[in-house]
Symmetry: C2
Subunit: 334 residues, 2 copies
Amino acid sequence: MKAGVVIAVDLGGTNLRLGAIDAAGRVLVRARARMGPHRRKRTLLEEICSRIRHFEREARACGRIEAVSLGFAGYTDAERGLIYFAPNLGGLGNIDVGPYLGKRLELPVFVDNDANCAAIGEYFKGAGRSVHSLFVFTLGTGVGGGFVVKGDIWRGAHGTAGEIGHTIVMAGGPRCTCGNRGCLEAFTSATAIVREYRRRKRGRGAGVRVKPAGKAGRGKAGVLGATAGELTARRVADLARHGDRAALGALDYAAKGLGIGIANIFNLLDPELILIGGGVSRAGSVLLKPAIQEARSIIYPPLAPRLRVKRAALGDDAALIGAARLAFAALKNR
Amino acid sequence: MKAGVVIAVDLGGTNLRLGAIDAAGRVLVRARARMGPHRRKRTLLEEICSRIRHFEREARACGRIEAVSLGFAGYTDAERGLIYFAPNLGGLGNIDVGPYLGKRLELPVFVDNDANCAAIGEYFKGAGRSVHSLFVFTLGTGVGGGFVVKGDIWRGAHGTAGEIGHTIVMAGGPRCTCGNRGCLEAFTSATAIVREYRRRKRGRGAGVRVKPAGKAGRGKAGVLGATAGELTARRVADLARHGDRAALGALDYAAKGLGIGIANIFNLLDPELILIGGGVSRAGSVLLKPAIQEARSIIYPPLAPRLRVKRAALGDDAALIGAARLAFAALKNR
């Protein structure tokens, strides 16, 4: 008899990724699809369900399917299998994805925040193995976070902990998609990087230290991938590497925000290791080097040598591996 | 035979408080002294030691002295009984207070951050009893924080977690005593409130939303108590209650920072309860009401009803009771 697998699903702002993953965290087969924009919960749920059904045949070839486990970019309730609010999925809320899929697929279904899944993935198989405590930033369409303590994700009293993207680092600063000003996400997400690049290209100059970007710079979700004339954060990073001044400025702006976020996490939580993951982290040293420099300049100097920041190791697989890990652990405890 | 007591010591920026406390968290006797400014570790340690020795007689009348437990306003290493850095004690660093006092007093000596002690105190005997998770802000000369999870304080990988006062909420904002700009402490400490009041009295107008206070407003440590012509945060709060516009403005500025700090903690850690303690919290509703309003305006609206913020209940005794609690727990585990 083959060992069991979990179908892990990573539903971000733009893409849906699937993987059949065994208990050792190996991704045996994977698939990927673009998500259409959805205005109704029903059609969103139906699309997710049909994507999983389609993938089931491939997954079954790898082993008995034990469960489905979903990581979502939004506020989730892991206990009840709910999505409270998915700002990057057209702002839909109160989606009972767990119960819906459980009934349709006749499998146990687990739901968690995608950054929580990525953090557990990195802790289990990636750059965060064998540390005491770990904070993972996931930089994508939005900015998420996951805090791992002694092998467990810290979900908080209501399951919504980890939202580093909506902590405010510059009161009165650039507008965030959430409606507030100066959230970390308004600096360091793909959305913010593209917006800042455009602003600089229009010649509106640098606003790095104090000046808010203002209403005119208000961004749209989904630009990591390929909306808005195909200008993506990845493209901006490429331009920066080739010395484009507006692109370098935009990356510097993002790094400034990320550096403050890293210093704030260090001062507040003192984790053994901080990891930077998500699609935007592929920008590499053009983003991470100035961010770490900024963080070190903030931290009380005698403590600064203790700051450990690395790039996450698992790339797009982090959330899949983490989601599967959470499902295997939950099945064991049943 | 009488039950044992712990001599708890709370060393803040201005005052040293002492208490003889039993295992049930009752403060059986207390004392208080002003700390002279110290430029050398040696004289600081000697003053602390002689204050404790003087108090020992009173404490002994309450029961057998089992240990001394100190809460300090600064970066501490609880494991090694060290103070790394005490910004409000003349900037002294690397003070081996635990080993020094242990040798002189011939008692077990425990050392922890004062906000950690206050958080444990409130969890054990105060406003945070029987909650799942708790974050305590301590607003005094500086701003500290303590995060309690399942009955334990979260100290981090190196013992320096909880420093909410030096998380940045307004990049480029008002200068903090730590040298950075826009730390929460630069808004919501006694030091910052007095400074902001003075600035407004001089007619430099409101800088609440975006404008940094600038170098001219740079504050001094120790103003909670009675330096600088006796103007204290308490006095500013009194003036605000009587309708003084500059005082109301200064409290509003402090509330703005505190509200962001509360929202950041809610988004990042989702604790069941947030408590506001420390001397500045005595300002009461003139500070807390607008702070909670600000926090609610930031938090994603469907989650906002879950925000629970209260005033801490134990006042000046919180850190003493918590320090004693930590000592009794450590003695039990020996």
